[in-house]
């Protein structure tokens, strides 16, 4: 057991090292940092000093090692654009993104699971067919279009929910939450819906596929033969059996959802990490870009590893793999 966990963690560490290498390569490829940082009045001597100070005269491996050591300590350097600590910039915006992502995940579970169950057990009915069709539209609509439509309908035409920003927030140490104020909750509604739409369809399809599988299995047939009521079979036994993959996928998808949120954040001007990242991209602010890449990947790898280990704890057979 312990061996498995250590192996899994070592693997995750390797992946993170490689991600860090990619992040580091961005620095090397996107142009000379000195040129990106320097203003035009800077003399050659100043430039040389800066180069030395940034350690750009060292060899590739040394620079990479330094980058990894710094990044592991949360030191991603100074933003080219506004001379602030990158980690501080990201930490400031991290709660906004996490809140959006978690609420969207919650919505996608609450909506996606029942839809999946219905489409599985009521195969062939007109409403399940239309739900199926709708789910394809759901994955096909670009999320920026969804955002724009939501703003047009619910914000401008109906005036139900705000179109931008995060409302008022309450601070708890370094965490800030919009969930405790009415304006914060109102501001969360539309972006969370926009972000969850894609996830809803994913969960719905997954639940449907798993349900169909389970419903064909022997134990369901057996249960039916025993005369257990149909709803009880579906929800007590069948659904329980498909929840595991749903939980897994939800956990593993959180990393992707954080990255995906950058589109939603841009459309709704949500002050999260994603918006910071997009601004960094516009201004070629490499340290912020690299840090964002590392942090999002870290969350992704962390959750994946966690899920793997959790599985191994639950089901010892998987350890052999």
């Amino acid at each position: 057991m312990l061996v498995f966990i250590i192996k899994r963690i070592a693997n995750a560490a390797m992946v993170m090292l490689a991600v860090a290498l990619l992040a580091f390569l961005i620095f090397r490829l996107a142009g000379d940092p000195v040129e990106l940082m320097a203003n035009e009045q800077m003399s050659q001597a100043d430039r040389d000093n800066l180069r030395e100070k940034l350690g750009l005269n060292d060899n590739f491996a040394t620079q990479y090692a330094r980058f990894v050591v710094n990044a592991a300590q949360g030191n991603f350097g100074i933003s080219y654009r506004n001379n602030q600590e990158v980690l501080g910039l990201i930490a400031e915006r991290f709660p906004a993104t996490m809140e959006l992502v978690l609420v969207a995940t919650f919505i996608s579970l609450v909506v996606g699971i029942p839809m999946g169950v219905i489409t599985a057990i009521q195969r062939g009915k007109w409403y399940t067919e239309s739900l199926q069709f709708l789910s394809i539209i759901g994955v096909s609509l670009p999320s920026f279009v969804v955002g724009i439509l939501l703003i047009l309908v619910f914000s401008v035409s109906l005036g139900w929910a705000p179109a931008f920003g995060r409302g008022d927030v309450v601070d708890f140490g370094w965490w800030s939450t919009g969930l405790l104020t009415s304006s914060g909750r109102a501001a969360l509604i539309l972006p969370a819906i926009a972000l969850s739409l894609y996830q809803i369809t994913l969960i719905m399809r997954l639940v449907r596929a798993e349900m169909l599988e389970v419903l064909r299995s022997d134990f369901v047939k057996f249960a039916r033969a025993r005369g257990i009521p149909r709803w009880r079979i579906h929800f007590r036994h069948a659904l329980r059996n498909c929840l595991m993959p749903v939980v897994t996928m939800t956990a593993m998808n959180i990393g992707a959802l954080i990255a995906f949120a950058l589109i939603t954040e841009t459309v709704f001007q949500w002050p999260g990490m994603g918006m910071l990242f997009i601004q960094a991209v516009t201004f070629i602010d490499i340290p912020v870009m690299a840090a964002y890449l590392c942090i999002v990947s870290f969350i992704f790898v962390f959750l994946n590893t966690l899920v793997d280990i959790a599985y191994a704890v639950i089901d010892p057979r998987l350890r052999a793999r």
Binding site: R81, I121, G165, T282
Partner: protein, 534 residues
């Protein structure tokens, strides 16, 4: 079907969701009613820095004027009146003596006195100060007593007072305590304590600032001046997307937007509860060229040939820009300053005729048919700049040029522009804070030399023009000075140093909550004069 739903308890979830939604909406509505003393204001882009000396941007300085103040200030009618100084006089045509206002306190409680003025003047005139070009006449400052200072000038030009409206006063001791005696520089990415912290004397104090997200000001109850506004709190939010800005106003999350997109004005005007105020701005948008020996890519510079510049000028259909892109709200320009600016001459203000055939002919004569160049544009500086630039590219292509559009946000483009490496660029000049053509002449059109030509990014030099500018600075008679300025603008037009396009329109849109707001041609917010409905 029904059974399934009950089973899964969907109705309850949905009901909860719906009631939460309703509750939120209701609370939101209540929140707006209760927060009537808060002005929620949105602009197109964030301020660049909280240090007023860090960037000579009109919008940045206008925002910071809520926190910081100068010795003198403009009335909404552009008259220079006392602010932190109560009176002043010119001594021996060499020195302006200012009597300072007594009993003024900075936001941290310390008293304002002559030492603060000396420290501020030293800081703003530092060689690294981005604002040094704003006070070209300033030579040095001397303390006379605790509430009297002498500012020495190189020429007795009264425009010095106009310039001083933009020089805000710091607390000298506070600067020392925070190691900030040197100015920061947005363009050069030099930051410091003053980039994120303030200590002014103005009507509002900084409450909090998250760059790119929100800046909050609260009322300064200890302000020395009589309070005309009824605002307790100002929340400034940059919303870069025009559509989102309008959506936020229409849905009532924002009370006031400056830079209301002109294409949306009709819709806004027709919306109940929304007011729109629009007019043409002081800012003249013009085109300028790289005028060094060689272009950045090493080619011999074709723009040093006046025929190429003339061809460029004749390629522009200003009527089309006016009627289509600017929706009839701009003022097509024939000269480099707006009609409101002293030094303007209606005679010069005849826009160059649109004549693409002539352009082609001139280009052919210069041997530059099919001239390819990069055209530097920003998408967040002037009104509908992206559309203006696309339209320019279309028109120039028809006239035989091959422009390559390089468009990005101001923060990316401004360094490229000021480095002087772009072939062709746009410049908007409002003659702030001087409000006199002298500003354009000395800062943009003059040869680059010390405080002169600080915005002469193309690097041109016209000695005849420089002489006229010097003469104007030393001319005490207003009419004579303005005549010289007009003469210099005429030379600029004849030589096609820069190509004026138009004075752009400005538009603010607001909800009913704004009872009264002061909008002038300088497009500056003055929320110490704004009143909100109760």
């Amino acid at each position: 079907m029904d059974g399934i739903f009950t089973l899964f308890r969907i109705p309850r979830t949905m009901k909860t969701l719906r009631s939460t939604l309703l509750a939120c909406t209701a609370l939101l509505a209540m929140g707006t009613a209760a927060g009537a003393e808060t002005l929620r204001w949105a602009g197109q882009r964030d301020i660049f820095s909280l240090d007023p000396y860090s960037y000579g941007s009109t919008s940045n300085l206008a925002f910071l004027n809520h926190i910081y103040e100068g010795l003198v200030r403009y009335t909404p009618e552009f008259e220079v009146v006392p602010a932190l100084a109560t009176e002043w006089e010119l001594i021996d045509n060499k020195v302006w003596r200012f009597k300072l206002r007594q009993g003024v306190a900075f936001h941290d409680g310390s008293e304002f006195n002559a030492d603060d003025v000396i420290a501020s003047m030293a800081r703003v005139s530092d060689p690294t100060s981005p604002l040094r070009g704003n006070i070209p006449l300033f030579v040095g400052a001397k303390k006379v007593d605790d509430f009297t200072v002498d500012l020495e000038v190189s020429a007795p030009n009264p425009l010095f007072l106009n310039d001083m409206t933009n020089i805000f006063m710091f607390d000298g001791q506070w600067l020392v305590d925070n190691n900030s005696e040197k100015p920061t520089d947005v363009g050069g990415q030099v930051e410091g304590y003053t980039t994120y912290n303030t200590n002014g004397t103005g009507p509002f104090m900084l409450d909090s600032r998250v760059p790119d997200s929100k800046t909050v000001l609260v009322v300064n109850d200890g302000w020395w001046d009589e309070k005309q506004h009824n605002i307790d709190r100002i929340e400034f939010t940059p919303i870069s997307s025009a559509a989102t800005r309008v959506a936020a106003l229409l849905s009532g999350e924002i009370d006031l937007i400056d830079a209301a997109p002109i294409q949306d004005l009709a819709r806004l005007e027709a919306s109940p509860g929304i007011k729109v105020d629009k007019r043409s701005d002081l800012r003249t948008i013009s085109i300028a060229f790289n005028r060094k020996e060689k272009l950045a890519d090493g080619r011999d510079n074709p723009f040093n040939d006046i025929r190429v510049r003339q061809a460029f000028d004749h390629a522009i259909d200003r009527d089309l820009l006016h009627r289509r892109v600017m929706r009839g709200l701009s003022h097509p320009a024939g000269t480099l300053v707006a009609p409101e600016i002293p030094g303007y001459s209606a005679e010069l203000d005849t826009p160059t005729e649109y004549d693409p055939e002539l352009s082609q002919k001139l280009l052919a004569e210069a041997g530059q048919t099919g001239l390819s160049f990069t055209y530097l544009c920003m998408n967040d500086e002037s009104v509908n700049e992206e559309d203006v630039c696309s339209a320019m590219v279309n028109m120039l292509s028809r006239a035989g040029f091959k422009p390559v559009l390089d468009i990005a946000p101001r923060a990316v483009q401004a360094p490229k522009r000021s480095s002087g490496n772009s072939d062709v660029y746009m410049l908007g000049w409002a003659n702030e804070p001087t409000l006199d053509a002298y500003s354009m002449l000395v800062q943009v059109l003059s040869t680059r030399d010390g405080a002169a030509g600080v915005a002469n990014y193309g690097g041109w030099s016209y000695p005849a023009l420089d002489q006229m500018v010097t003469a104007a600075a030393n001319e005490l008679d207003r009419d004579k000075r303005l005549a010289i300025e007009t003469e210099a603008l005429k030379l600029a037009k004849e030589e096609v140093i820069m190509i004026p396009l138009h004075q752009q329109p400005m538009a603010w849109a607001m909800t009913d909550k704004i009872e009264d707001v002061t909008i002038r041609a300088d497009n500056k917010p003055r929320h110490w004069l704004t009143r909100l409905a109760d």
